[in-house]
């Protein structure tokens, strides 16, 4: 068992091959994704019109829904129906190596592991990138903390945006934490999450993801931010991170207030 896992991990750690994203493959699966997003999750993606029609953008989202990442599915399909599959978007997510469906499938959708330099390669090629700085820690936070943004302490994404001079578009999602009952981590500091989720009932570690409950997912893309225009020629990455996180928190709080019932939305 360890051998194949190691192989997958080493594959995931390699520099991304952008050619693995397959626009025709995505296009043929868009109806299925649209059904999943619109009928199963009753998704509502707003603000895609805020993203400039051309050029790379760094989309920075809050992560919800554990390793099954329903919010990524809904956003990536909405981005593809809005801008067309011809406009490349790469989503950096840790689910790529280990979760269902098979990794090759995910890579053809443009989902790549968040290796050092993955965003650099994509942005340099003129593609847009979706990243979740909070990663697994945020995605697996307890369900009762669904209304909390946790982008973590890492400022790599800010430095990446500054290095490539690309705007940052904050993406705020809600509903993902209701696709299972996330209970937090086993012990302090452990990376092992625990949740009550289908079909496992008790899901420890989320190695194989889970079948998400049909919670209503709402995603809002905020106005892109030109970091140097807003924060000056040489901004402090930590201050930029905190300011954007605060902006996202205000939006998430409003979105959470608009929700009346868990799962139903």
């Amino acid at each position: 068992m360890i051998g194949p896992l190691r192989h997958l991990r080493s594959q995931a750690d390699a520099a991304p091959d952008l050619d693995e994203r397959d626009p025709d493959f995505i296009r043929e699966r868009l109806p299925g994704l649209w059904l999943l997003s619109s009928v199963y999750f009753r998704g509502d993606v707003r603000g895609l019109g805020n993203i400039p029609d051309t050029g790379p953008v760094l989309l920075v989202g809050n992560h919800s829904g554990g390793r099954t990442t329903p919010d990524t599915t809904v956003l990536v399909s909405a981005f593809s129906t809005y801008f067309g599959v011809e406009r490349p978007l790469f989503a950096l997510t840790r689910t790529a190596p280990l979760s269902w469906p098979p990794p090759g499938w995910l890579r053809r959708f443009g989902i790549v592991a968040p290796t050092p330099g993955a965003a650099d390669v994509a942005l340099r090629a003129g593609a847009s990138v979706l990243t979740y700085p909070g990663g697994d820690r945020e995605g697996q936070r307890p369900s009762w903390e669904a209304g909390r943004i946790d982008l973590g302490k890492d400022t790599t994404w800010v430095e990446t945006a500054l290095r490539h001079n690309v705007p940052v578009a904050p993406v705020v999602a809600t509903g993902g934490q209701e696709t299972a009952l996330f209970l937090g981590r086993l012990g302090r500091g452990s990376g092992v999450s625990v949740s009550l989720a289908l079909p496992w009932v008790i899901n420890v570690g989320e190695l194989a993801g889970h079948v998400p409950l049909p919670a209503k997912l709402t995603i809002e893309v905020l106005h892109p931010i030109d970091l140097r225009e807003r924060y000056g020629a040489d901004p402090n990455p930590a201050e930029v991170r905190d300011d954007i996180a605060a902006q996202m928190q205000r939006t998430l709080t409003q979105m959470q207030r608009a929700r009346r019932l868990p799962v139903l939305g």
Partner: protein
């Protein structure tokens, strides 16, 4: 999936065409459209291209369309260049010596190669798209007839003014 809707408008084909053939006026009467923008220099006629998006379910769906038929006061047809596969047509036919116009709006859409999920998605989207087509023609009729009534009133007033002066 092929859908159609029709309406008869109390206005001549030229009056209906004034709105149907105006690329800047599409968002005024199309129901469900969130974007209709010319792409490139050509604004009207065969070969004109537009970026069109329609709100369907979780997101805006559409792509780039190109006009493939342009017969003033009679036919306007388009087909998709990218995005969702789509063909559409406005067919205008004069009735009662062109005092009225029968308008038919057809739309066929889908994604080639999408298989069963494509078929399911087409079925799931159909009620909304059908609702949009009906709403579009209702709004088109309302605007054209309103404009027609305004123009007729203006003519009557002008005639009255001319009589008073003489």
């Amino acid at each position: 999936m092929r859908l159609r809707a029709e309406v008869t408008i109390d206005a001549p084909p030229a009056a209906v065409w004034a709105l149907v053939g105006d690329p800047r006026g599409q968002l005024r009467f199309w129901s469900g459209l969130t974007r209709y923008e010319p792409v490139g220099r050509r604004l009207t006629g065969v070969g004109a291209r537009y970026r069109v998006l329609m709100r369907l379910g979780s997101a805006d769906v559409g792509g780039l369309i190109e006009l493939v038929e342009w017969q003033p006061r009679a036919e306007l047809a388009w087909t998709s260049v990218s995005g969702v596969d789509m063909r559409g047509r406005f067919r205008l036919r004069g009735r009662d010596d062109d005092r009225r116009t029968h308008v038919e709006l057809r739309l066929a859409y889908g994604i080639a190669g999408a298989g069963l999920t494509g078929w399911l998605a087409e079925q799931a989207a159909a009620p909304t798209v059908r609702h949009y087509l009906r709403g579009t023609l209702t709004e088109l009729a309302r605007q054209v007839e309103h404009e027609q009534a305004r123009a007729e009133a203006e003519t009557r007033r002008a005639r009255l003014r001319a009589r008073r002066v003489s």
